[in-house]
């Protein structure tokens, strides 16, 4: 490690793992933490103070569903009192208009509403809950408040062709940002990966569409796009580099360098109940292990891009190559890249076969849903006609 240690800029506060939804791509770990182990209001308040002292500027309130915490208003006030900027990432479910008003009054800076799609049926299938209609109500309430709004659409094979509808939804709302984030394959998404990965064709269409949208909406809505890294040539700089910019605190107070870090065997995590945040940042085994470059193997060790992407994601290296110090297998230079190519090949050919056989049934005439054709941007992608997958839904912790 030759560079001086940076301080974290954002604190991801997983306030709870409880959630009224059961999304098949939830980034929470397969082992959810129980309500009884959650940090108290006072403990979180101390964490916010310590984080601010360490140089953190923003707190991301997430979960689970952060609004299931009855003390959410106190938590917002505590984070604001610590001079943090407060982002709330929510499904919008445990919310009514007066509670929204109270959140804004408490000092919430930025409201991020997550969507499972633009069409009710698929959205509800993905979340395992009838949640979509409530989100549309929340969008209307938000128009009456002076607060930053981002719509987060989580994209995958079952909804990627709804992109034009998702964008219209954003345009008719008060959002200044919209994020189209393809699912990343950890947690529940890894368990459901084969039904979620888009096809190459879908991806290409969506990127074209979004580039045009970005230009057209410049200055009105900031359009952000995250592609599934399985299709990329180089990995993303996951979390801005291990233990360089972000710190995540789980509902029970464990400090993690990223959402998925607990899948890596042998990492020791510290708990904010026992140690000051700055100490954890500096000396915790979990943070130190993959900081800097000394842990790298070839080809990362001598690669020109290692200061850009830090060798990619450690959790993905472990999940796909069974070695957390390996080059991220999505990298085209990685010795394990053929594994990723094999997954993509299987999925692309399976979907192609499914559409071919679906075509024969459509001709015989039982198409119930009118097929949407989009004339505007040539972005319409024929939905791969597959039957409903055998999803593994995320349960609720005790």
């Amino acid at each position: 490690m030759n560079e001086p240690r940076s301080n974290p800029l954002a604190l991801i506060a997983e306030l709870t793992h409880r959630c009224p939804l059961h999304c098949v791509y939830c980034s929470n770990p397969l082992e959810l933490e129980a309500r009884t182990t959650e940090l108290s209001t006072e403990e979180w308040s101390r964490v916010f103070q310590e984080a601010a002292a360490l140089g953190v500027l923003q707190a991301d309130f997430t979960g689970g569903e952060p609004l299931t915490r009855p003390d959410i208003l106190d938590l917002i006030r505590a984070a604001r009192a610590a001079r943090l900027y407060v982002n709330l990432i929510t499904s919008g479910l445990p919310l009514d208009e007066s509670r929204l008003e109270a959140l804004v009054q408490a000092g919430l800076d930025h409201f991020q509403l997550s969507f499972q799609g633009a069409r009710e049926e698929v959205a509800n299938e993905i979340s395992g809950t009838r949640a979509h209609a409530q989100k549309l109500r929340v969008l209307e309430w938000l128009k009456r408040h002076r607060i930053a709004v981002t719509l987060n659409f989580v994209m995958h094979r079952r909804n990627i062709e709804q992109l034009p509808e998702m964008l219209s939804l954003a345009e008719s709302s008060s959002a200044s940002r919209v994020e189209f984030a393809n699912v990343q394959y950890y947690g529940w998404a890894f368990a459901n990966r084969d039904a979620l990965l888009p096809t190459r064709e879908q991806l290409t269409h969506s990127i074209d569409f979004l580039k045009k949208a970005q230009e057209r909406l410049a200055g009105k809505i900031k359009v952000e796009y995250i592609v599934p890294d399985y299709y990329a040539r180089f990995p993303k700089p996951c979390m801005g580099g291990w233990a360089r910019k972000l710190m995540l605190i789980t509902p029970s107070g464990e400090a993690l360098p990223c959402h998925a870090a607990k899948v890596i065997p042998g990492l020791a995590f510290e708990n904010v109940k026992n140690r000051h945040l700055s100490e954890i940042w500096e000396v915790s085994d979990a943070f130190e292990r993959f900081r800097g470059e000394s842990w790298m193997q070839e080809p990362c060790k001598t690669c020109d891009r290692r200061a850009l992407d830090f060798g990619g994601c450690r959790c993905q290296a472990f999940l796909l190559a069974a070695d957390a110090t390996a080059t991220d297998p999505v990298c085209s230079l990685a010795p394990q890249r053929p594994k990723v190519d094999a997954i993509l090949l299987t999925i692309n050919s399976r979907v192609a076969q499914a559409s071919a056989s679906a075509l024969t049934t459509t001709i015989s005439g039982d198409a119930t849903e009118p097929r949407r054709t989009d004339s505007s941007a040539g972005a319409s992608v024929a939905a791969p006609t597959e039957s409903k997958p055998a999803w593994r839904y995320r349960p609720n912790p005790s």
Binding site: L57, Y85, N87, H110, I147, A148, V149, S176, K222
Partner: protein, 96 residues
Amino acid sequence: MSIDLGSRPRLAPGCRMEEKTHEPRTLLMPERALRLNGPSLEIVERCDGQHTVQQIITELQQRYSKAEPAKVQEDILGYLALLEKERALDFEPRNT
């Protein structure tokens, strides 16, 4: 996206200065933070919904009287355009 010199920029919802007073100061916004010092801070401080773009330009041209006025104007418009693209500013239309 050309900027109207008569419009009055102000920070968009969810964009605010960090609550401390020594430089560098930070402009906080959704998922981003911008460090501001010197001219960038002087521009943002004037994005208060009161100053018109023209007034910001005139004030800073006076303040930086050694610099070429056209260059000062160009820099300010460039910076405002960048903030607009980040969705950090709303422009109140000119009074008619």
